[in-house]
Subunit: 232 residues, 4 copies
Amino acid sequence: MLEQLKQQVYEANMLLPKYNLVVMTWGNVSGIDRESGLVVIKPSGVEYSKLRPNMMTVVDLDGNIVEGDLRPSSDTPTHIELYKAFKTIGGVTHTHSSKATAWAQAGKGIPAFGTTHADNFDGEIPCTRKMTQKEIVTEYEKNTGLVIIETLSGKNPERMPAVLVHSHGPFTWGKDAVQSVEESLVLENVAMLALDKVLLNNISGSCYNPMQEELLRKHFDRKHGPNAYYGQ
Amino acid sequence: MLEQLKQQVYEANMLLPKYNLVVMTWGNVSGIDRESGLVVIKPSGVEYSKLRPNMMTVVDLDGNIVEGDLRPSSDTPTHIELYKAFKTIGGVTHTHSSKATAWAQAGKGIPAFGTTHADNFDGEIPCTRKMTQKEIVTEYEKNTGLVIIETLSGKNPERMPAVLVHSHGPFTWGKDAVQSVEESLVLENVAMLALDKVLLNNISGSCYNPMQEELLRKHFDRKHGPNAYYGQ
Amino acid sequence: MLEQLKQQVYEANMLLPKYNLVVMTWGNVSGIDRESGLVVIKPSGVEYSKLRPNMMTVVDLDGNIVEGDLRPSSDTPTHIELYKAFKTIGGVTHTHSSKATAWAQAGKGIPAFGTTHADNFDGEIPCTRKMTQKEIVTEYEKNTGLVIIETLSGKNPERMPAVLVHSHGPFTWGKDAVQSVEESLVLENVAMLALDKVLLNNISGSCYNPMQEELLRKHFDRKHGPNAYYGQ
Amino acid sequence: MLEQLKQQVYEANMLLPKYNLVVMTWGNVSGIDRESGLVVIKPSGVEYSKLRPNMMTVVDLDGNIVEGDLRPSSDTPTHIELYKAFKTIGGVTHTHSSKATAWAQAGKGIPAFGTTHADNFDGEIPCTRKMTQKEIVTEYEKNTGLVIIETLSGKNPERMPAVLVHSHGPFTWGKDAVQSVEESLVLENVAMLALDKVLLNNISGSCYNPMQEELLRKHFDRKHGPNAYYGQ
């Protein structure tokens, strides 16, 4: 069943190692068939090099396994909550990508610092609050979804297709599985740019003193001046 | 028309993913035929792996599409302003490359810190002022070009082939499309070196205390001393 | 003898360059046959591209070479101490991987900052104390093993499969040689995330001020708004 | 003439892009035939992909071109000074590798922080003083060599095979051309480790507070505890 969606979700999952968003078996992508209300998701703990379209697991929105020999990703209840709350999305991606996860571990949303961010996210990419002990102990993965939804409360998930889960990492979504991966890729780039930006702004002014003028002159002129002798 | 220039501009665009200066469809390169006053530029939003020379769009210096089935890059009006103001340049590149964009987001020009910089740029690579609300709301992409030109005012664009646009990213130029990409590559390297340089200078002195002398002795001598036993 | 284990230890060693955990001839992996008490380990100073399964050296738990034409890794006495103290492990890996080694050089254990860490390590990954001059001068490699064991004292090595040796780098272990390399890979990722996390938390609040609202609006809306004109 | 040395110097130069120590045409490696006193060096400004063994230039220790159609590297006078002062070396490498160059731009030597450093360098890798205006204006490349030699004064170049030139970048040397490149590779790694080390030590203690204990418990136990349900 849902062979086409399985193929698409498989291909979306394979973008994760291609885009360097995961190591080992980390990360997972799902897609939903809104008509039947069935979700296709990566199986848990399988190496990407061994993944095949027919290994994708099918679950319903109550979390029951409808088809598949392998256990679905442990994060499946999180994906399900997002599909239930965000009616217009068709795909969800979870990674521990390097820079986005660093922001999540710092417990900080990523402010909009530039147009790369603004091209994709309508404002600060929020970080959830810490989950309570109760939320962690019981139905942890489902509650992870709920705290994401709480964090987005009042915002349009199509205009803010990403949330950082505190001390954990990013979840992203899109109109289908492939687009949800692309949001993860853009998020990772935005997180990288933002880290370097705050590092630069935190540095004291005297560190920005330039080199000797005479050395600048020498190097520019030996290559570009009237008596240039650098290069063939 | 302009088949040779299209081929060259195509090849210059393909250097962007090769040099890791872009992800997704980001970035664009153009070249100008000064005789006819026509600009060849990458189409908007096309994946690099699907780009072909005959997809390049031809526009005139008023921004009219002269040839091409695809819409030219959204940044075309910026390129056009640069060609109009800087009469000696033949190619323009725009990227959101990681380190140069971080400096742009920090709102800081990159001071000349070393000879890698001085080999290519005659002084600080400037960052524009923030654009005004009016400049942003109306003819934004054209005004982006104008604020770059204002920033370079009084400088020779051949000696300073790059500007960072505040909260945005770099534009570079050169005698042709390929050289404008090479300027982006050098800029990205210079931006990376400069970031690490200011980080180092900002660190307090006590962090530079060396390791134990006895451990240094042991490791150097077990490999290079008279009784070395490390390696075959 | 032990041809199967040699093959496995060979393959585990070859994962080190594959996972970018080593440069040159750095790093070494071993595996133990608990029945015979024999350890198979990479020879010292051989390039990975020239390594073959039959070059693996076999030593006993007293450090005697039982088979092999090449000298075993200089770190063999460290591996042996770990096998003697941690009865349930089957493989040991040593690297100078970039981020884990930076923490070791800083003399700092890696606190548990997020779920990537918690998925693999039951708490802070400890850093040893500095070794004494006496420990360094005599039987240095054996004493390196002993200070790792001292550092883990009271902890289950299966729940904490890594230690950073002060001013040196990480040792990891697992149920076999391959798993010990995977622990090194996870450790390196965890160390990278942790470095960026502490950098972010150390930055003063004003550096997190967002970009101009009008520029955010312009860029988001030109791509996603009702009058979007970005992309095809 | 010197065909074997040309081949070796060619291969050593090709290691620079392989090891990611250079971009564009940057960097150069030379080797010396001590018997004839002739130096073989990369030509200036040639792309690595177009480099061939027979393009290598031969110069004598007075800087005269003895063989070759292409101009030798602009840094040839620096190489020559090093060969004249350090009688036991056979190869010299110059790069603008990322992390070593950042230390040079910061004007700081790299202290010995750990065993990766100590395995190769007998103490702090020194950074030269700034060159004087006079040294820069006249015979700049020769004076670059002299300031390196001054900086190493009293030290054995075999025990300290690298110097950082202030606001410029590293020069390294070894018994032959290939070994001098390997020293550059090790230096780049050591510089990277050292940067991250001082960053970590500069961060205030409160940034090292760990995550919630309950979240650590949950994640470790769902994968490794008695009721583990993570993975297949």
